[in-house]
């Protein structure tokens, strides 16, 4: 029996310490998914915390035959999709996006300029990602950031495998179009209060 299975069983029996071990193990993938989905560190932190609370409350219903990671990411992805649908008209502030993040240039890297260029490219990709449909965005994040297979993405997002493939193709085509529209040196001005009306 793996450590994870032991912690799940103990957590299902009400052991909070075992659940904390699960939180520590999965905090990074869950937070990353939420951050890439929502675009803001504060929103991502809140969504990741809420995801773990939902998991805690529904742990008794978890089927141990299924992968815990897939189940957990499925809850996180659906939580973020719901949040995005609720705040459809809000826009993200690019300046705020990287605050408090670990994506800062690595001073110990041999070439700081190349590190800065890489960081800018990541920011650019992150910004393009925010324009995708929430489900397509979740599929792309799971594929490239979480290294999930198409089958795992299908299970997580409750889609068929051909639908996942089609969504990934469409999303990458859309990202490329956005990539072409938004050159690396152009930075969108911050919109006060996040509303186009201002």
């Amino acid at each position: 029996m793996t450590d994870e299975t032991t912690w799940i069983i103990q957590a299902q029996q009400g052991d909070d310490e075992a659940f904390t071990n699960l939180v520590e193990t999965y905090q990074k993938p869950v937070y990353n998914l939420c951050y890439r989905m929502l675009g803001e560190p504060e929103a991502a932190e809140d969504a990741a915390q809420e995801t773990f609370l939902k998991v805690y409350q529904n742990l008794a219903r978890y089927d141990r035959e299924r992968s815990f990671a897939t189940w957990l990411l499925s809850i996180a992805a659906h939580h973020c999709i719901d949040k995005l649908r609720r705040r459809r008209f809000n826009s993200f502030s690019i300046d705020e996006d990287e605050e408090g993040q670990t994506d800062l240039p690595d001073r110990s890297a041999p070439d700081p300029e190349s590190e800065t260029a890489k960081r800018q490219e990541r920011e650019r990709l992150h910004n393009c990602l925010q324009s995708l449909d929430p489900t397509d965005r979740a599929a792309v994040i799971m594929r490239y950031w979480q290294d999930c297979s198409e089958v795992e993405i299908a299970q997580t997002l409750k889609l068929t495998v051909p639908a996942v493939k089609s969504r990934l193709h469409r999303a990458r085509r859309a990202l490329a179009d956005l990539w072409e529209e938004k050159p690396a040196h152009v930075r969108t001005e911050r919109k006060p209060y996040g509303s186009p009306a201002f």
Binding site: T20, V23, Y31, A44, D103, L125, R172, A176, E180
Partner: protein, 174 residues
């Protein structure tokens, strides 16, 4: 400009032959759309996982404790409201009886005893009528009718037993 088959090569992520790679590179020099797709592919392959600020699990513990307290408070107030509602409803429904009990308890008790006595007398009358029918009816009904009734009752019971067994069977191997 025709983007095929280059777009499919880029989207499918399939390994390309040397000749295909050469053709793709030539196309990418002249096609900005496919070049953007190739750049996105490259950017997606070099993504970095964002990590939460230190102390995420501790912040979760604090939130969990707060959530549990909120849940306990909600349960407590829910119980209080439910109890008060049930008591209020009971008081409202039983108020006419309670009023009589308070005003003239002897009359109310006498009416209850009278109702009990009449109910008991009705039961006895029904029982006696049933006994009479039980003694008289068999004489009027032929034996084969009894056989049919018993057979039908047996068949009906069998249908019930089989149905119950079928619907209460736990699914195996799903």
């Amino acid at each position: 400009m025709d983007h095929q088959p280059f777009e499919n090569w880029l989207l499918d992520n399939q390994p390309l032959t040397t000749d295909q790679k050469r053709q793709l590179n030539t196309h990418l020099r002249t096609c900005s759309s496919c070049a953007a797709l190739a750049e996105v592919n490259l950017a997606l392959k070099s993504v970095r996982v964002a990590a939460p600020a230190a102390g995420f699990a501790d912040r979760f513990q604090v939130r969990l404790v707060a959530k549990k307290q909120a849940l306990r408070r909600r349960n407590f107030w829910g119980f209080v409201v439910l109890t008060l509602s049930v008591l209020g409803l009971f008081g409202w429904v039983s108020w006419p009886v309670l009023k009589d009990l308070i005003q003239s308890p002897v009359n109310l008790l006498a009416s209850w005893i009278s109702s009990l006595v009449s109910f008991w007398a009705s039961l006895q009358a029904i029982f006696r009528a049933g006994m009479v029918l039980f003694k008289v009816v068999p004489g009027f009904v032929p034996a084969y009718i009894w056989a049919v009734i018993l057979f039908a009752a047996g068949g009906w019971s069998l249908v019930w037993v089989v149905s119950l067994m079928k619907f209460t069977k736990y699914p195996q191997g799903v």
